[in-house]
């Protein structure tokens, strides 16, 4: 069964998407030149935006028929720029995001586990403002992983990371998703990353 299916989808007369499907329980990479609508596609998939034409289907249901909050919690979008509460510790950041979703915060062990998956090995009481841009990005991803999802949409997740950390994080996330039977959809410009981690590649706006 397809995780997502796009049918004649267009957005605001600027972007016209080809009809395609995204496979369930696979790591699908979306590539293409800047401005072809890769980030917009992720927002259309998790219902932050609605197509102005056509339909997006999620496991054969029209997205517009699914409760938008339920959808966003199952199809979790990790934006390109990390947003954390800088004046708080890493642990407090986990708790704040979970509190916003009215969910009980994970245990310290679970937090440490998800942070390690993103190559973050530092105390939970470290202040976020002391972290580098790359570390913030990985803490941000770790919080999303802890929140839980059926499908994880990631917009340029390695843009703020060096090659070593970027590869390590994606390797762990892919293994975790495979083990848990979850789907992964990643927008990336990095050909090496795509070659190493993609089960499937969708090229928007022309050639690969």
């Amino acid at each position: 069964m397809a995780l997502f299916k796009l049918e004649n989808v267009a957005f605001k007369g600027i972007i016209q998407y080809p009809n395609f499907e995204i496979k369930e329980k696979a790591a699908t990479f979306i590539t293409g030149e800047s401005g072809v609508g890769k980030s917009t596609l992720l927002k259309l998939l998790n219902g932050v935006l609605t197509p102005t034409e056509g339909h997006v289907y999620w496991v054969e249901k029209k997205l517009t028929d699914v409760d938008s909050i339920v959808l966003r919690r199952k199809v979790l979008l990790v934006s390109q720029s990390a947003v954390l509460f800088d004046e708080h510790t890493i642990e407090e950041n986990f708790k704040l995001f979970f509190d916003y979703r009215d969910q009980a915060a994970p245990s310290s062990e679970e937090m440490t586990h998800f942070l390690a998956m993103c190559s973050i090995v530092m105390p939970l009481d470290a202040r976020v403002y002391e972290l580098s841009g790359g570390e913030k990005q990985r803490v941000f991803v770790a919080i999303h992983l802890a929140l839980g999802f059926d499908a994880l949409l990631m917009d340029e997740p390695t843009s703020a990371l060096d090659e070593k950390n970027g590869f390590a994080m994606l390797r762990n996330i892919k293994a975790y998703c495979k083990e848990q039977g979850k789907s992964l959809v990643i927008v990336s410009h990095d050909k090496e990353i795509v070659e190493n981690f993609a089960d499937d590649v969708i090229v928007l706006g022309g050639e690969a």
Partner: protein, 255 residues
């Protein structure tokens, strides 16, 4: 009781403007023209207001009072809306209703319940409406400014929370609460310094006009509480009902 201000003596106060102009010249502040224009505008505007008020006070009629209230309420709404042209129609309507309903309700409560007078008495309704509606406008303007600045500064955070499946209500409510607090605090802080740092304008005016200090104080306390209430209520209604127009049924932000 002090005698009525003599017009010829009154004109002597303009001599003080020369002091301002002299300081400006000495400090090379190139605003002399503004001082003169501002003084002339103030004189003209207040003379015109005085003439209109004299006309209304000499011929008290509910219609005149209502017309005056309609004009100042309309002008207040226009002042706010002209600074927020990008808002959706429902939010604009909420601003109109919040300002007029809270302003007029507090005014009516003050005149009818607290003072026990006729709501249409122009000598009460006109000056008090200026104070009450004027403060409601300042509060709403400050509240809206704070709210919009927060929306802009925290845009990434807001988008992230929405992406995560947090409801727009839960995402935006802290910004609304913060804006209400920012808009209401100045009036509350004013209360704490009142009577120590300065005697408020209305109280000073009443004493100059011959009222006993205790009478002036009672009026002052009651009007300040009415002002605090109208500021709080108008900002609360504007933002609390207005922010709910910023997303659609799919929980997508419209800003």
């Amino acid at each position: 009781m002090p005698e009525l201000l003599d017009v010829y003596q009154f004109t002597l106060v303009y001599v003080l403007l020369i002091v301002i102009l002299a300081v400006m010249k000495k400090c090379k502040i190139n605003q002399s023209k503004l001082v003169i224009v501002a003084s002339l505008r103030m004189t003209f505007q207040l003379a015109l207001a005085g003439a209109i008020l004299t006309f209304i006070f000499e011929r008290p009629h509910p219609l005149f009072t209502l017309a005056y209230l309609a004009v100042i309420t309309g002008f207040s709404i226009h002042m706010i809306l002209s600074k927020h042209k990008e808002l959706n129609k429902t939010f604009k309507m909420i601003i109109c209703v919040s300002l007029s309903v809270t302003g007029l309700a507090i005014l009516a409560f003050y005149i009818v319940v607290v003072l026990g007078d006729n709501f249409f008495n122009p000598q009460l309704a006109i000056p008090l409406s200026g104070m009450i509606v004027g403060n409601a406008v300042s509060g709403v303007a400050l509240g809206m400014k704070t709210f919009k600045e927060s929306l802009s500064a925290k845009r990434h955070q807001i988008d992230t929370l929405i992406n995560m499946g947090v409801t727009p209500q839960k995402t935006l409510l802290p910004l609304v609460n913060q804006a209400i607090e920012t808009a209401t605090l100045p009036t509350i802080i004013t209360m704490t310094s009142m009577g120590i740092i300065k005697l408020p304008g209305m109280m000073t005016g009443q004493m100059l006009a011959g009222a006993m200090p205790i009478t002036a104080i009672l009026y002052q306390i009651s009007i300040i509480i009415a002002i605090a209430a109208v500021t709080c209520l108008s900002v609360f209604c504007t933002l609390y009902f207005g922010y709910k127009t910023l997303w659609n049924e799919r929980n997508q932000l419209l800003i």
